[in-house]
């Protein structure tokens, strides 16, 4: 192919703009590399650098300012055969800083060409993340109060596996870009150039000055030796490929027919580490095995190892509507934190409700029937109190029978844990 440039879309950059040289340079790169148009995609965002995708006869995705790398990553992950080239100005670089860092860390095989022309050209020459503090730009004095970033050193420290810097006027540019594209992994090429429409009107920036800037802050080599590692896509596919087991949905067969099933509500009030959620699950297993519809919600602290743990379970022969607790069959009061979390319900309980309370736990006054159990004396450890409470309920034929509880435990646990659980439960019988 003699050119990838779209003949019906002539370049529209200001006279003298370095972007024009880079566009032609990139075209030469694509030709020299013999890339296929249908396997190449140029991803751009906003600003003059965002015009690049319109000039080339390759696949193109033009998106929101600063986000080009995110689309590029999605494309490359979805189709690893693509050569994905991202052009981004210093504006997008500033806005999308987090994405640049993430791309460096991930090392997906993308090439980022930064077109650094030291200002926001399109909006009137405002300062960007790369504007020198002493430049005269369209932001009055604001750039004087900040310093520009050095993206090459940032990229290296963030883990980029290829980093280079070159003048947009450098005759070696096509080769520099080709090296970056050939590199397997994330490559960053910072090109420095002139925005003749805005920046160079008030600042002394010429190709010679750009050469001096590069000489003052050189970036050696390209390949960053210390950062070399597998390409993200390949590594991802390898790791994901090891995951071969699809987690099927949990199904529990109806195994018991109970006479005259009624809606039941159960509240387990405990603390972190007391296996409250597991006990709630077991109630659900028992319910489903008995042909009931069940729902369960758990309330625990975001710092999961501390604080209350509350489980609220509904069992119903009807389809469950409202999933809140209205008139519980049983309330298990197993920790002060848990009780405090739901202390308002105690005075609303009916005399038919059973409150199962550990001896050491204080509960508010309640019309419910209170059964007190001294788990400590029974030598049951605190993490087993919730489980043991289920044994108490089974013993009293509240909620479920011993047989159904045993079935639920068997369904929930492996054999070893099941045996231990049964040991605990049987202490209650």
């Amino acid at each position: 192919m003699d050119s990838f440039l779209n003949k019906s879309r002539p370049l529209v950059f200001c006279p003298g703009c370095t972007h024009e040289r880079i566009t032609k340079g990139l075209d030469k790169t694509l030709i020299d590399m013999g890339l296929k148009a249908d396997k190449t995609v140029i991803v751009t965002d906003i600003g003059c650098s965002g015009l690049f995708d319109t000039f080339f006869n390759v696949h193109a995705l033009h998106g929101v300012h600063g986000r080009a790398l995110t689309y590029a990553a999605g494309l490359k992950l979805a189709d690893s055969t693509l050569t994905v080239i991202v052009t981004m100005g210093d504006g997008g670089l500033g806005i999308g800083g987090a994405h640049v860092l993430a791309a460096c860390r991930k090392n997906l095989d993308l090439t980022l060409i930064i077109l650094n022309n030291f200002n926001f050209g399109m909006t009137g020459g405002q300062y960007s993340a790369t504007t020198p503090s002493d430049a005269v730009v369209g932001s009055e004095f604001l750039n004087q109060a900040e310093i520009p970033i050095n993206i090459c050193s940032i990229a290296k420290s963030a883990g980029a596996t290829y980093v280079s810097k070159c003048s947009g006027h450098d005759t070696q540019l096509p080769d520099e870009l080709a090296k970056a594209i050939r590199h397997k992994g994330f490559s960053v090429v910072e090109t420095l150039g002139m925005c003749t429409g805005r920046y160079t009107k008030r600042n002394n920036l010429t190709p010679k000055v750009i050469d001096e800037m590069i000489a003052n802050q050189p970036v050696e080599g390209g390949v960053v030796e210390g950062n070399q590692r597998p390409e993200y896509g390949e590594l991802y596919r390898k790791l994901a490929g090891e995951k071969t087991r699809f987690p099927e949905a949990l199904t529990i067969e109806r195994s018991f027919n109970i006479v005259d099933p009624q809606r039941q509500e159960v509240v387990i009030l405990g603390s972190a580490g007391m296996r409250i959620v597991t006990a709630g699950d077991i109630v659900c297993y028992a319910g489903i095995a008995s042909g009931m519809n069940v729902s369960i919600k758990n309330d625990y602290n975001i710092t999961v190892l501390r604080g209350q743990s509350v489980s609220e379970i509904l069992l119903s022969p009807e389809k469950i509507g409202y999933t809140g607790i209205e008139s519980p069959t049983a309330v298990m009061a197993l920790s002060d934190e848990g009780v405090q979390r739901r202390q308002k319900i105690f005075k609303t309980l009916s005399p038919e409700t059973v409150v199962l309370k550990e001896k050491s736990i204080a509960i508010p006054e309640t019309p419910a029937r209170v059964i007190e159990i001294d788990f400590k004396e029974l030598k049951i450890k605190r993490p087993d109190w919730a489980l043991a409470s289920l044994g108490v309920l089974a013993e009293k034929e509240i909620l479920f029978s011993k047989e159904i509880l045993a079935f639920a435990l068997k369904s929930r646990f492996n054999e070893k844990v099941y045996d231990l659980a049964m040991e605990t439960i049987e202490k209650m019988y």
């Binding site: 999605g74 189709d79 071969t244 659900c284």
Partner: protein, 366 residues
């Protein structure tokens, strides 16, 4: 399973093969489930560096032909906004699950509310219509997510699942064999030899070709003509803006999903959606037992607003009551559609579900 797991399983059943997201309570378990389910099936599941990036990954993957899902909650949906506008305007199919929590802002991570209903509809630039589906329970999460993929593919647009902490993080049993699952719809691929990426019938989405295929594809977030290049031609712009509306509005009746229980001899119709519908139905059942039956309409498609369904259901009622788990985000649409009809409203935004007793009180006292 939880509502969130049901969203993930519904997505898998719909052929989803790409997920990118960022952890946020109460939506995180959708991500967790996709991370377990996609790798064994050859799909891709990625944690973005933030919510904006997650949406960007989804956009890129969708344009390469993947069926994509992402999931977040209020604070994340705010960050999604700029990318959602892109996906709407540039017709990029995807499903976005918003497991709503109590807002505004960071609000309460573990407290539910239907906080984002208006935000989902209007949280993009330009006001182009979107599809928002509201599940009531875990089974709905499964079925509506499949439906959402079908709509995303057909209309080439983002489709929102407006879930709620109270559904997403509540585990429920359900019998999948009790429902008929929707047959799968795949995006229409272009078959000619003169592909213009946005050329379409005036009431349809354009046929799709993936970036990376034999035919070169242009995608752009900027105002574009059929060729995918920027345009300033007012006629072309107007036609495209109109088409973005018409493609959904022309299908409005077909994509209006709802359940109704209209009883003869009742004078009150209670309209609700999401988790609140379940309490409304409990309340209606109790009221019927007490000899004061009411009728109910439970909306599953919130946007485009199922106008005909609402008009038809409400036609013979003197009084309509709208109940929402917020301070009134949808009631104005219902008032708009029902013109002069008497519409009472009750909303609650305190982190807890509205109980049936409260709903009965509202129905009784107005």
């Amino acid at each position: 399973m939880e509502g969130n797991e049901a969203v993930a399983r519904g997505a898998m059943a719909a052929g989803c093969n790409f997920f990118a997201g960022y952890p946020i309570t109460p939506a995180t378990t959708i991500f967790n489930n996709m991370l377990k389910m996609l790798p064994p099936t050859g799909g891709i599941c990625i944690q973005g560096e933030d919510e904006i990036a997650s949406m960007g990954y989804c956009i890129g993957a969708a344009m390469a032909g993947k069926k994509v899902l992402t999931a977040t909650s209020g604070p994340g949906i705010s960050l999604y906004s700029e990318q959602v506008s892109f996906a709407i305007g540039s017709e990029i199919p995807m499903v976005i699950a918003d497991v709503q929590r109590l807002g505004p802002s960071t609000g309460s991570a573990t407290r539910g509310a239907d906080s984002d209903i208006q935000f989902l509809r209007w949280g993009s630039t330009s006001g182009v219509p979107v599809i928002v589906l509201a599940p009531r329970d875990a089974l709905d999460c499964y079925v509506l997510t499949m439906q959402a993929f079908n709509y995303a593919e057909e209309f080439r647009c983002p489709v929102f699942i407006a879930s709620n902490k109270e559904i997403g993080m509540t585990k429920e049993s359900f019998d999948l064999s009790s429902v008929t699952l929707p047959p799968l719809v795949e995006r229409t691929l272009y078959e000619g030899d003169q592909y213009l990426p946005f050329e379409a019938d005036p009431d349809k989405a354009p046929p799709f070709l993936p970036i990376g295929g034999k035919t070169l594809v242009r995608q752009t977030s900027s105002t574009h003509g059929p060729d995918g290049f920027i345009t300033i031609d007012p006629q072309i712009i107007a036609a495209n803006q109109q088409r973005l509306r018409t493609k959904l509005h022309a299908a409005r009746e077909r994509i209006s999903l709802y359940e109704e229980n209209i009883l003869e001899g009742t004078d009150t119709l209670v309209i609700s959606y999401g988790i609140t519908s379940r309490a409304v139905e409990d309340a209606a059942k109790i009221l019927a037992q007490k000899g004061h039956p009411v009728s109910t309409l439970s909306l599953k498609t919130l946007y485009p607003v199922p106008e005909q369904a609402i008009l038809k259901a409400a036609a013979n009622f003197k009084r309509v009551v709208v109940i929402e788990m917020n301070l009134g985000q949808y009631v104005n649409d219902i008032r708009r559609i029902l013109g002069g009809k008497h519409v009472d409203f009750y909303g609650q935004m305190d982190g807890v579900m509205i109980p049936p007793a409260k709903i009965m009180e509202v129905i009784k006292n107005g």
